[in-house]
């Protein structure tokens, strides 16, 4: 369980996170979406104690992230946005180091290392230096590393950025499996599809604030479940409708090509944040 109350972070004059209130339940997969600079990474960094909030508070399984550091550290696993594996160590040594840092006794540490190498399908490359790995292999190893000490809550900051579609799906499977075993997951992503297929609930952030929250279905309902996209005529653009009839009625008056389809999370995102992803 993750609870944020008015969680705030200022960097000088910049308000990176502007008073977030949010509750993520045990066993949930929750996605934070938002354009670049919305404050997703800053939120995760506060929850993982890499930076101190300037206001408000956050609890991880009841422990305060500014006070009960060692308690929180046991509960959480972290996969940061940037690649931060130890490039001078092998894959196996990276896991070994993490296990030692988290005081896992030697026999269990070795067993868990091999288990996780298998889990992320790196057992054949386990003895190689990480600096020789591809981006996808590094991502998988970062996830394995975060799981070494069997955390209850996993934070993933853009876990699939830059990965090919197959590798991305493998990572989704991995996240689902861990979630199936009871793990709570908070992830950020710019791939809206990822949030849609993977997550129970989604929060959309913009300029440090949470501007919408709910299941993908709820959010689609909020803006309208049917979209009319028009191209080439005078009324280029999107329009949302609650039902098919309204949409058809509207579409009849349009010139040029018209596409009527069900709305998706990406439409919601664009409608709410007012700019395309990645702007």
């Amino acid at each position: 369980m993750i609870e944020l109350r008015r969680l705030t972070k200022h960097y000088g004059n910049i308000v990176a996170v502007a008073g977030l209130d949010l509750e993520i339940k045990k066993g949930e997969i929750f996605a934070l979406l938002g354009p670049n600079g919305a404050g997703k990474t800053t939120t995760i960094r506060m929850l993982t104690m890499l930076t101190r909030p300037t206001g408000g508070m956050a609890l991880i399984n009841g422990y305060d992230v500014t006070r009960d550091l060692d308690k929180v550290k046991k509960e959480i696993g972290v996969v940061p946005q940037h690649m931060n594996l130890d490039q001078e160590l092998t894959a196996r040594e990276n896991l070994e180091l993490h296990g030692r840092l988290h005081k896992i006794p030697a026999p269990e540490r070795r067993k868990r290392t091999e288990e996780l190498l298998n889990y992320v399908e790196l057992q054949d490359r386990a003895g190689e230096l990480v600096s020789r790995f591809s981006g996808g292999m590094k991502r998988r190893l970062m996830i394995a590393r975060a799981l070494m000490h069997s955390p209850q809550i996993l934070f993933l900051d853009e876990p699939t950025v830059g990965l090919d579609p197959q590798t991305r799906r493998k990572i989704w499977d991995l996240i689902r499996r861990m979630n199936g075993e009871g793990m709570t997951v908070l992830l950020t992503t710019h791939y809206i599809e990822e949030a849609e297929v993977l997550c129970h609930r989604v929060g959309i952030m913009d300029k440090g604030k949470l501007i919408a929250i709910g299941t993908p279905g709820e959010l689609k309902q909020k803006v309208g479940e049917v979209v009319v996209e028009s191209f080439g005529g005078r009324d280029t653009g999107y329009k949302f409708f609650a039902g098919r009839e309204d949409a058809l009625a509207y579409a009849r008056h349009l010139e040029g090509d018209v596409l009527i389809r069900e709305s998706n999370l990406e439409d919601v995102f664009i409608e709410l944040t007012g700019h395309k992803v990645g702007d």
Partner: protein, 243 residues
């Protein structure tokens, strides 16, 4: 025992890159020995002994400093600002004290190895030095305090370039002025005072006195120990503050 985990990681890497480390640690002392011991110093007398025997303790002191400082300072600064591997330690349940101790001991091991390499080289060049336990203790203290300075610098300096500047404006002048190649009493008064307060000066003094005949300089030893303690605590404080 958490510090051991930090040290373990460094030793895994040192073992893997040992030949590179070894070779790189040979170059500069070899150049110093050739230039100042053979070239400049041949036939030169210094405080009644030959110059080679005068200069070797100084070279050991400055190499101990350089190796330990760089081993910790540069890699930790990179780890914090560039590779971000420091985060892995910050999210782990280990204390700042354990982290700093592990880093500093790793730097000390490298500094000590570099010093032993120079001792061996100096022996080949014909220098006859008295090396005992106290001598090694002074080398270890020197390594320890400069490794701790490396932690402080790495955690407070916010760019790679400024890290290089710190080396140029602080470490490099010390290498030459702190009793390593000549006695600081030849310097003008005010400068000599400042030099007397710096740790490398006392490392040079203490090593030279011990190498010449086993004389222990308690004041120098105390200065080194004080610097080691203060810098270690400063290192712990800046690591605590990083969040």
């Amino acid at each position: 025992m958490d510090f051991y985990t930090v040290l373990w990681r460094e030793m895994v890497v040192l073992r893997r890159t040992f030949y590179k480390f070894f070779a790189s640690r040979l170059v500069s002392p070899l150049l110093y020995l050739v230039a100042f011991g053979w070239g400049l110093g041949r036939g030169l007398k210094m405080n009644g002994g030959n110059y080679l025997e005068f200069v070797v303790p100084g070279i050991i002191a400055l190499s101990a400093m350089n190796t330990s400082f760089n081993a910790v300072g540069i890699t930790l600064n990179m780890s914090r600002l560039y590779h971000k591997t420091l985060e892995e330690y910050l999210i782990a349940p280990i204390s700042a004290g354990a982290f700093v101790l592990g880093e500093v001991l790793a730097g000390t091991v490298r500094g000590l190895l570099a010093s032993l390499i120079i001792l061996a080289l100096a022996f080949l060049f014909g220098a006859r030095l008295a090396v005992n336990g106290w001598f090694l203790l002074v080398v270890v203290l020197t390594c320890f305090l400069f490794a701790a300075l490396g932690v402080v610098a790495a955690m407070t300096i916010n760019s790679h370039e400024d890290m290089a500047n710190f080396s140029t404006f602080v470490i490099l002048p010390m290498s030459f002025l702190c009793g390593t190649f000549f006695s600081p009493d030849r310097l003008p008064g005010a400068v000599a005072y400042i030099i007397e307060a710096l740790p490398l000066t006392h490392a040079s003094y203490a090593l030279r006195a011990l190498a010449r005949g086993g004389e222990l300089l308690p004041l120098s030893l105390a200065v080194l120990a004080a610097y080691a303690v203060v810098l270690f605590l400063a290192g712990v404080a800046v690591v605590r503050k990083v969040r």
